[in-house]
């Protein structure tokens, strides 16, 4: 079943991109109308999409997928972006995109399995140590609403939010499990801290009111493009169903935070993290979609949260289709809402900034710990060195992926050491 899902997902995503209906890379979305409306050649489009996506597949998608043996959605959908833009226009192109996309999906799944199997058979099996990469982030993620608060409303409110979230976390540790009506209810400290932080951020954000109609203007200027998305609703709903089902099977994750939580088996916390992240993506997806007429194959990323909460793949698929449909049907209403609460729109941007800053730190620390568990001493040296070298060399690896990538490299080096009988 998983195999079929991966093939269908890859195939459909590539077709959606080929027809200019949906692309995953937010950077590629604004360029699609340039080609659809004839201002940019297919060749330029394919070249741009390759340049934009390839680095992210290699330097972001794959390292995370390897470190947890769960596929990060970026690995597959950035690839199908490239495949879909590369395949020619018309019926023949659509079929080509579908077939190559499906093969790519299968290739990724078996490729990941293959590489993990090789790692397991190596003289030094570093897979369990590699798991330490995710240790800091599965707790530290709860801090991001406080950081977003600080970005948006100043350092004092940020500190207040962090203290409140920390306090709630410790209260949850102390009082869990709760006895409610004779039933034992265990409370997750990180989940509670995250909810507290998000609530405080959203309360601050909704207090910011405005009478400007920015996004609303966008809807009226680009009404044809909004109509185009609505016309494509059925295909997008199917895509949502496939992604949600794969997430419920736990072979796919929407972002590095929930990926690491899923690896630990903390599905509800992963769902909460995905939900909070979704809030961060509403403004980005809504504004780029309205302005371009091109949607995202995963929508506003809420399907990941729903799939993780539901856990049953079939029900998750239904929920995925329903959620994507609702997002699209209410796209213009949502625009109005973003205008009425400009603080929420800004909060979305700040949530994304805060999450990536947090991931940079947490994954660097995680990467150092993992590498040092694999080869004590050398691990710290290598990861710290590689991080700074990456900075000096204009970041060929995305900053937050340096930790996981370096830890994988140290694992491979450990095996080379064994082959050469170098002791460590």
């Amino acid at each position: 079943m998983q195999t079929i899902l991966m093939a269908l997902m890859g195939g459909l995503a590539a077709i959606l991109t080929n027809k200019g209906i949906a692309v995953f890379n937010d950077g590629l979305r604004p360029i699609i109308p340039e080609h659809v409306e004839g201002r940019m050649s297919k060749r330029d489009l394919a070249a741009t999409s390759f340049a934009m996506s390839f680095g992210l597949v290699i330097g972001f998608g794959i390292p995370f997928s390897l470190s947890a043996n769960i596929l990060l959605i970026h690995s597959i959908l950035l690839g199908t972006d490239v495949i879909g833009t590369w395949a020619p226009d018309g019926k023949k192109g659509m079929v080509t995109a579908g077939i190559v996309g499906a093969l790519y999906g299968l290739g990724l799944m078996y490729g990941l399995e293959f590489v993990v199997n090789i790692f397991e058979k190596m003289p030094v099996n570093f897979l369990s140590d590699l798991g330490k990469v995710g240790d800091p982030i599965v707790v530290a993620f709860a801090a991001f609403p406080a950081l977003a608060t600080a970005y948006q409303f100043g350092i004092k409110k940020g500190v207040f939010n962090l203290l409140a979230a920390g306090l709630v976390r410790q209260l949850a540790v102390t009082f869990s499990p709760l006895m409610l009506a004779g039933m034992e209810v265990s409370i997750n400290p990180e989940g509670m801290a995250l909810i507290t932080g998000m609530l405080i951020l959203l309360i601050f954000a909704t207090r910011e009111k405005s009478s400007n109609t920015n996004v609303g203007d966008l809807v009226s200027v680009f009404s044809e493009r909004v109509a185009r998305i609505k016309k494509n609703l059925p295909m997008l709903a199917v895509m949502g169903a496939l992604v949600a089902a794969a997430t419920a099977y736990q072979i796919l994750a929407g972002d590095p935070i929930s990926l690491n939580l899923m690896k630990e088996g903390a599905l509800n916390e992963a769902a909460l993290a995905a939900l909070a992240r979704g809030v961060g993506f509403i403004p980005l997806i809504a504004t780029t979609a309205i302005a371009t007429g091109v949607y995202s194959p995963v929508g506003m990323t809420f399907i990941f949260a729903a799939a993780l909460f539901i856990k049953n793949p079939l029900l998750a698929a239904i929920a995925g289709a329903v959620i994507i449909s609702l997002e699209i049907l209410f796209l213009d209403k949502l625009a109005g809402l973003l205008d009425r609460f400009p603080g929420i729109k800004k909060a979305g941007d700040n949530i994304r900034t805060a999450m990536s800053k947090l991931l940079e730190v947490a994954l660097l620390v995680g990467g150092m710990n993992a590498a040092n568990a694999i080869i004590p001493g050398f691990g710290f040296l290598f990861v710290a060195g590689l991080y700074i070298l990456n900075e000096i060399g204009d970041q060929p690896i995305v900053r937050m992926a340096v930790g996981p990538t370096a830890a994988i490299l140290v694992g491979i080096i450990a095996n080379i050491f064994v082959l050469l009988s170098i002791s460590f």
């Binding site: 937010d26 590629l28 360029i31």
Partner: protein, 118 residues
């Protein structure tokens, strides 16, 4: 000369960097990405800088929709830092809206201003 900072992440950091390099020579204003792109369109500002994680989506999405591809350029992408030659060429070709990734703010803003101010 006026530069508006749109995009979706690290706006303050970009604005600070512009001020740090150009000082009094330019006026900098941080705006919502839609407002910022509109400011260029209506002639209220001369250049648009924006960052996000891909260099194109949040950074340049609204600018691209409002100003079209002819006025916009993505000058850094994940894993591909800004290139002095490319930036020089884009500025010469009349591009006014520039998107880049948040990882490369320092270097990109420095290169862009060097070319724009000349």
């Amino acid at each position: 000369m006026k530069i508006v900072v749109g995009g979706q992440v690290d706006r303050q950091e970009i604005a600070n960097k512009i001020k740090e390099i150009a000082g009094e020579k330019v006026e900098v204003e941080i705006m919502d990405d839609i407002q910022a792109a509109t400011a260029i369109k209506t002639g209220n500002a001369d250049y648009y800088f924006g960052a996000c994680h891909t260099g194109g989506g949040g950074a340049l999405g609204m600018a691209m929709a409002i100003l079209t591809n002819a006025k916009c350029a993505t000058v850094s992408m994940p894993g591909r830092g800004p290139k002095a030659e490319k930036i020089k060429e884009e500025v010469k070709n009349g591009k006014v809206a520039f998107g880049f990734t948040a990882d490369h703010i320092d270097k990109t803003v420095t290169l862009l201003l060097k070319n724009i101010l000349n």
